[in-house]
């Protein structure tokens, strides 16, 4: 058969645009574009509204002043900003060393063992535990035993929440360190502790830091775990062992408040939280790209 016969027999290799198969493909392609648009609309809407409503209220003074009394204008969220830094800081002090040491086992000593596999599994399950349940856990462990809501209780809840993320990102970062580093160090006579702490860990530090930054930014925005651990405080907290305000709790409380001044602060607080996430995401992107 020669090719003209092929064509005349209607067996052209090209499908006609009107054939059902082609039509189906075109319709589905349009559907895929619609899906992407539908997914991006909420993102655009959320960032747009947070920017518009938050930016008008954001100024240096909101970081230094106390929230206004109900019905009064002005004020800021200085105490909540400091409170978030404190609770997240306490969480970091607990979760980062714990997570990194656990990750060292998973990537350096326990690789491919049953124990590491089990820990990996449990870590992933832990990261799926609802944050409100972690809040309840922290309540019964810290708040009930100390008898008070506090920055420490909030920090403990956030630490539990951050731990799986830190373990996973640190283990990944350590695993990415080329094996030649370990072999060279061992060949020069290093012990395992020297190889790990002086060669492998420093090489992985940039990637670990990136993971930690992302975890911290997430923790700063988490509300459910601090609801009944750090609780809230309209004033400056004077000790780590008393109720303390956080940005996320302030947004939650003031969002449902009938007073415009407090609603404005909720939007401004949201903007701060979103910017935190955005900046850390972009920074981590840049670090990953540079490698």
């Amino acid at each position: 058969m020669t090719s003209p016969e092929f064509v005349s027999a209607g067996r052209d290799l090209k499908r006609k645009p009107s054939s059902p198969r082609t039509l189906f493909s075109s319709v589905m392609t349009i559907a895929a574009f619609v899906c992407a648009a539908l997914a991006l609309i909420p993102l655009a809407a959320v960032t747009f509204y947070v920017l518009i409503n938050g930016a008008s209220r954001l100024s240096p003074s909101v970081f230094t002043q106390l929230p206004p009394a109900p019905g009064l204008p002005g004020g800021g969220f200085g105490n909540a900003f400091v409170g978030t830094l404190l609770t997240v800081g306490i969480a970091a002090l607990m979760a980062i060393p714990f997570g990194i040491v656990a990750a060292i086992y998973l990537s350096e000593f326990g690789r491919d063992t049953k124990l590491a596999e089990a820990v990996n599994f449990l870590t992933n399950v832990l990261s799926g535990v609802p944050s409100i349940v972690i809040g309840a856990f922290a309540y019964s462990v810290v708040v009930l035993s100390t008898g008070t809501f506090s920055a420490v209780a909030g920090g403990f809840a956030l630490a539990v929440l951050m731990l799986p993320t830190i373990v996973r990102t640190a283990a990944e970062a350590l695993e990415a360190v080329p094996n030649e580093f370990r072999q060279a160090a061992t060949g020069l006579g290093s012990t395992r502790i020297q190889t790990t702490l002086q060669i492998v860990l420093p090489a992985a530090i940039p990637a670990i830091t990136t993971g930690i930054m992302l975890a911290l930014a997430r923790a700063a925005g988490e509300t459910a775990p601090v609801l009944f651990t750090a609780s809230f405080n309209r004033f400056w907290a004077t000790s780590l062992w008393e109720p303390i305000a956080t940005m996320s709790r302030l947004v939650f409380d003031f969002a449902t408040s009938p007073f415009p001044a407090q609603q404005e602060l909720a939007w401004a607080g949201s903007l701060v939280l979103v910017l935190l996430v955005l900046i850390t995401s972009v920074l981590s992107r840049m670090v990953i790209k540079r490698r």
Binding site: F33, P42, Y105, E108, L122, S140, L227
Partner: protein, 318 residues
């Protein structure tokens, strides 16, 4: 000479006993911390379970099937909240699964040049990182007013269907479902995309070579090949939706009893119940709240373990 004396012993290159035991100790220390992460999960379950015990003993399994939540009378049943959790999660999946998979396909196949695609991948990931409380704030002031006329229309025209049988009160179960859909969509999209990208290129080429169109290839080759990964992603998203607290609490209305099966009516979820009552609770109420938390913990645990096993099996195959 000192140096030659050192070298004279053939055993001198060996580490000292102290050195070796420090080294072994270090390995054991790291192992202890790793085990600690696992133990933490068990501790959470144990602690919440122990504190819930008074309520478990008092109400038993009737806690799951009664809907009276009365602080004055010390009678608690979480059916309303369990129902709310399941319905909002189901609604969220209904909306987010097709769109999420659509986005995953859009971002894994070559519909767009990489230069346009990469930023979109980043933006969708960013959607997952926006704090829940910010979605809640947006839900109160933007989403609910936008949805309201739509809800009124549904009730006016389809009110004979039980799920649309009440006029919308503003906040409600449907608003919570939509917020949840927005929040879990990036999870479904990201994991499905990973699963699709991992399908070997040969399968795609072979399908095209046989004359299949792009969408025939997607439906008959790519989606079946990536199926378990996509299902794993959906399960993870379901777990997230059931446990999501702040955004839901802010838009669902928080009523303690089911008044109707309408999705336009107000409701509450286990998570929103905890968020609302925990800080001011005392006595048996605390135990009941922790019982509810235990149920939520158990539900999400089952879903997450299943997801984990499915995703794990899928990544083994690669």
């Amino acid at each position: 000479m000192a140096t030659s004396a050192d070298r004279s012993s053939p055993m001198s290159w060996r580490r000292s006993k102290a050195d070796r035991s420090i080294d072994t100790g270090f390995v054991w220390l790291t192992a202890a911390f790793a085990i600690g992460v696992g133990v933490l999960l068990l501790t959470i379950a144990g602690q919440v379970g122990t504190d819930a015990l008074p309520a478990i003993q008092k109400f038993g399994l009737s806690f799951l099937v009664t809907s009276r939540w009365s602080v004055q009378d010390d009678i608690f049943g979480a059916l309303t909240q369990i129902y709310g959790t399941l319905v909002t999660s189901f609604l969220a999946l209904l909306l987010a699964v097709p769109i999420g998979i659509g986005v995953a396909l859009f971002l894994s196949e070559d519909f767009l040049p990489p230069r346009v695609k990469q930023p979109i991948v980043f933006l969708v990931e960013l959607l997952a990182a926006i704090p829940s409380v910010v979605y809640g704030l947006w839900g109160i002031f933007v989403l609910i007013p936008v949805l309201r006329p739509f809800g009124i229309w549904l009730n006016a025209n389809f009110g004979w269907i039980p799920i649309f049988s009440t006029p919308p009160a503003g906040p409600g179960i449907y608003a919570a479902g939509i917020i949840l859909a927005i929040m879990i969509l990036p999870i479904i999209a990201a994991i499905s995309r990973d699963a699709l990208v991992a399908v070997p290129a040969e399968l795609r080429q072979a399908s095209y070579g046989l004359g299949a169109t792009r969408w025939e290839t997607i439906f008959k080759v790519l989606l079946p090949a990536a199926f378990s990964g996509i299902v794993g992603g959906i399960m993870l998203a379901l777990g997230r939706a059931m446990g999501e607290t702040m955004a839901v609490t802010m838009v669902i209305g928080n009523v303690d009893t089911i008044r109707s099966f309408s999705i336009l009516s107000q409701g509450s979820t286990v998570a929103s119940l905890l968020a609302n009552q925990f800080a001011e609770a005392s006595g048996l109420q605390v135990a009941s709240l922790l019982y509810a938390a235990l149920i939520l913990f158990f539900l999400t645990l089952v879903v997450n373990v299943l997801a984990e096993l499915i995703v794990r099996r899928f990544s083994m195959k690669l």
